[in-house]
C-alpha cells in the first residue's frame, strides 16, 4: 500500500453470469487492478473480452461474484441497490458513447439534474450548473436542447453533468465513438485537462489511437486484465 489510497482497487475480482446453469458465463477471472488518484487510464479489449463487465463493476452498477472492489475506500460487495446508487452519485461520473442527455431538458437542466438526487439546494444547484457548463466552454448554449447542439457539444454537456456532484472518478465508455476524429481529439484534450485538475479518468475504448492519449493502458482479454505499456511521454511525475 502506498501512502495515497488507491481510488480504484480490486482484488481477485470475478464475475459469473447465470452461475450454476447451462448458460454460465465467466466474464471476469480474478482481476487485480489499482488505479490511483489523478491517473488517466485506458482499458482496451475486443468485444466479449469482459471490459464492459469490468466497467459496470468499477462504475458500481453491479456487484462482483467474487473478490473485492474498493471504490475510493468503500467496499462495494455488501451494498444494496440504494447504497450503490448513493456511491455512484458521490464517487462516479459517467460519460457515454451516446451522450445520454434527456432530450426535453436544456443543456443547463441536463447538467443540474444529478444534483437533484444529492439534495443540493436549488440556488446552489443553478450556480454550480452555470459554472460547470462554462468550464466546458458552452456558456452560450445553456438554454439549448440537446437536439440543437452538435455531437461534440452534447458530449461536453454530458461531461459537465458527470462532474457536477464532484466525483473523484470519471468513467468514460467509448466517449469519442460517436464523434469525428477532430471533435474526438477535443474531448480527449478536455479529459487531459480534468486529469491535470486531479480527477481520475478511466476510459474504455477499443481504439488504440484513443488509448494512446492515456498515461497507462490496461488490456482485457478473455476475462483477464493485462498491464499494457506505461507510456513514457505521459509518465506521471
Amino acid at each position: 500500500m502506498s501512502a495515497a489510497p488507491a481510488v480504484i482497487l480490486t482484488r481477485a475480482l470475478g464475475k459469473v453470469y447465470s452461475a450454476g446453469t447451462e448458460a454460465e458465463v465467466i466474464a471476469l477471472k480474478g482481476v487485480d487492478v489499482r488505479i490511483d488518484g489523478g491517473e488517466f487510464v485506458a482499458i482496451m479489449g475486443p468485444s466479449g473480452s469482459g471490459k464492459s463487465t469490468l466497467m459496470n463493476l468499477v462504475g458500481c452498477l453491479d456487484t462482483p461474484s467474487s473478490g473485492s472492489y474498493h471504490c475510493d475506500g468503500v467496499d462495494v460487495a455488501s451494498l444494496d441497490a440504494e447504497e450503490l446508487a448513493i456511491l455512484r452519485r458521490d464517487k462516479i461520473g459517467f460519460v457515454f458513447q451516446g451522450f445520454n442527455l434527456l432530450p426535453r431538458m436544456s443543456a443547463l437542466e441536463n447538467v443540474a439534474m444529478p444534483m437533484g438526487y444529492a439534495n443540493v439546494p436549488r440556488e446552489e444547484r443553478m450556480r454550480r450548473a452555470h459554472e460547470a457548463i462554462a468550464a466546458v466552454g458552452l456558456q452560450n448554449r445553456e438554454g439549448h436542447l440537446p437536439s440543437e447542439l452538435s455531437g461534440g457539444q452534447q458530449q461536453r454537456v454530458a461531461i459537465a453533468r458527470s462532474l457536477i456532484n464532484r466525483p473523484p472518478i470519471l468513467l468514460a465508455d467509448e466517449p469519442t465513438g460517436a464523434l469525428d476524429s477532430k471533435t474526438g481529439e477535443e474531448i480527449l484534450a478536455l479529459f487531459k485537462r480534468l486529469r491535470d485538475d486531479g480527477h481520475t479518468v478511466v476510459l474504455i475504448t477499443h481504439d488504440a489511437e484513443v488509448a494512446a492519449h492515456c498515461d497507462r493502458v490496461l488490456v482485457m482479454r478473455d476475462g483477464e486484465l493485462h498491464e499494457g505499456e506505461r507510456l513514457a511521454h505521459r509518465a506521471r511525475p
Binding site: 452519485r89 426535453r104 438526487y117 439534495n119 458527470s162 456532484n165
Partner: protein, 413 residues
C-alpha cells in the same frame, strides 16, 4: 430527492405528453364525478328522510280505519264498512284515557274545486279539529286559525294553503274574501305558511283547511258516513320515549271501544312514522348502492387506464431511468418519481371530476325529483378516492421502474 423536486420532475414529465396525460385522467374525472353525484344524492335523500321523520314527528301516531298493519296498511282487506270504524269520540277517549298524549285531532279529507271568480283549481280539503294544526306543525301566515265558534257551529270558513292562495289571489293574502269550495261559499279567515315539497315529493301546500263539522256537512256531500265518523285520528305524545307505550295503550283502548274479541283482527290501524319511512329508506339504499357500484367501476377503469399508461411510460423512458440511476438515483427515487406522476394524473383528474361532479349534482337537484345535498365532506371523500386510485394503480408501474437493472436500462435503444 425532496418533495418539491419530485413534484417538479413529475409535472415536467406529464407536460411532455400532456394530451396523453389528459386522456388518462378522463377515467378518474368520470369516476370522481360519479362519486360526488352519488354521495350527494345519497346524503340528500337521507336528509330528506330525517326531515320527514322530524317534520311529521317522532312523537306522532296515526290511527286510520281498516284492518291490517304496517306500511301500506293491507288495502286488500278493506271493505266499505271497515272505512268508517273511527269516530270523533274515539279521539276524545284517547285524549281522556291514555297517559302521555299531547295532542289529538280527528280529520276528514277529500277533493274539491276551489273557485274565485274566473280562477279555479282542484285541491285537497281537510276537515280538522283544533289541535290538527299543532300536530302537523302548520303555522298561520296571515289571518287567524278557526275560533271555538267556527268549530261548534260549523261556520263556512276556510284557511288556504300557500299554493292554493297563490293560484287564487296571486300576491294577496285573500283574508276576508269569499271563495267557493264546490258550490258552497266560504270566507277565508287565514292562510298557512308554506311547507314546500313533502317527503314523498308531493306539494304539501296544495290544501285547504275547514273545521271538522263544516267539512262533514258541506263538503262530504252524499257519501253518507255514519255520524261522528273521522277518516283519521292523529295524535302526538309528550315524550318521544313513550311512543311505543302510547301506541299499545291506544290499540288496547280502541279494541275495547270497538268491542273486538281477543283473537279477532283490529278494525283500525295505528302506525308510527318510522314504519312509514322504512319502505322509503330501503328503496333509497338500493339506489345509493347502485350508484356506488357505477362510481366504483368508473374509478377502477380509470385506475387501470393510469396503470396502463404508466407501464407504457416506464417502457418508453427506460433509458432515462437507466441514466438517472447511473447518476445516482436510487430505486426509491425512481419509484417516487413514477408514483408522483400517477398521483398527479389522478389528482388533477380528481379536481376536474370534483368540479364536474358538483355541477352534475346541482343539475340533478334542479331537473329531477331526487334531493341533493352537497357539502365539504363529499368533496373530501372524492379527493381521498382520487389519491387512493393514483396510489393503488400507480404503485405497480413505479415499482417495476424502480427494479430495473441500470445496466440493462442503459443498453436499451
Amino acid at each position: 430527492m425532496n418533495f418539491m423536486e419530485v413534484l417538479r420532475t413529475a409535472i415536467f414529465a406529464l407536460r411532455g405528453n400532456w394530451m396523453r396525460s389528459a386522456l388518462t385522467s378522463l377515467g378518474v374525472i368520470i369516476g370522481i364525478a360519479a362519486v360526488i353525484v352519488m354521495v350527494s344524492v345519497g346524503q340528500g335523500t337521507q336528509a330528506e328522510i330525517d326531515k320527514l321523520v322530524s317534520g311529521l314527528g317522532s312523537q306522532r301516531l296515526d290511527v286510520s280505519p281498516g284492518a291490517g298493519r304496517g306500511p301500506g296498511g293491507g288495502g286488500a282487506r278493506m271493505n266499505s264498512s271497515s272505512f268508517f270504524t273511527l269516530t270523533k269520540d274515539d279521539g276524545e277517549a284517547i285524549r281522556n284515557e291514555v297517559q302521555g298524549v299531547q295532542y289529538v285531532a280527528g280529520a276528514l279529507r277529500g277533493n274539491t274545486q276551489v273557485v274565485l271568480a274566473e280562477n279555479n283549481a282542484s285541491t285537497n280539503w281537510q276537515g280538522v279539529q283544533p289541535e290538527f294544526f299543532d300536530i302537523n306543525a302548520w303555522d298561520i301566515a296571515e289571518g287567524n286559525v278557526f275560533d271555538a265558534q267556527d268549530y261548534s257551529s260549523a261556520d263556512k270558513v276556510v284557511i288556504l294553503g300557500d299554493s292554493v292562495r297563490r293560484t287564487l289571489f296571486g300576491e294577496d293574502s285573500g283574508v276576508g274574501q269569499t271563495i267557493r269550495l264546490g258550490r258552497v261559499p266560504f270566507t277565508v279567515v287565514g292562510t298557512l305558511a308554506p311547507k314546500g315539497q313533502g317527503g314523498f315529493g308531493q306539494d304539501q301546500d296544495d290544501v285547504v283547511m275547514v273545521p271538522l263539522e263544516t267539512a262533514r256537512r258541506r263538503l262530504l256531500g252524499s257519501m253518507g258516513l255514519p255520524p261522528g265518523t273521522v277518516m283519521q285520528i292523529a295524535l302526538t305524545v309528550t315524550d318521544p320515549k313513550d311512543l311505543d307505550y302510547v301506541q299499545g295503550e291506544v290499540e288496547a283502548l280502541l279494541r275495547q271501544r270497538h268491542k273486538i274479541q281477543p283473537g279477532d283482527e283490529d278494525d283500525f290501524n295505528v302506525r308510527n312514522i318510522s314504519q312509514i319511512v322504512a319502505t322509503r329508506t330501503a328503496t333509497t339504499n338500493l339506489m345509493s348502492k347502485l350508484l356506488g357500484a357505477v362510481a366504483g367501476i368508473c374509478l377502477v377503469i380509470g385506475g387501470i387506464g393510469i396503470m396502463n399508461i404508466m407501464l407504457v411510460s416506464v417502457t418508453e423512458r427506460i433509458r432515462e431511468i437507466g441514466l438517472r440511476m447511473a447518476v445516482g438515483a436510487g430505486p426509491r427515487d425512481i419509484r417516487r418519481q413514477f408514483l408522483a406522476e400517477a398521483m398527479l394524473i389522478s389528482l388533477i383528474g380528481g379536481v376536474i371530476g370534483i368540479a364536474i361532479g358538483i355541477g352534475g349534482a346541482l343539475l340533478v337537484g334542479k331537473f329531477s325529483e331526487l334531493p341533493v345535498q352537497l357539502d365539504g365532506q363529499v368533496v373530501g371523500l372524492a379527493a381521498a378516492f382520487a389519491i387512493a386510485t393514483g396510489l393503488f394503480f400507480g404503485y405497480y408501474p413505479a415499482r417495476k421502474a424502480s427494479l430495473l437493472d441500470p445496466i440493462e436500462a442503459l443498453r436499451q435503444q
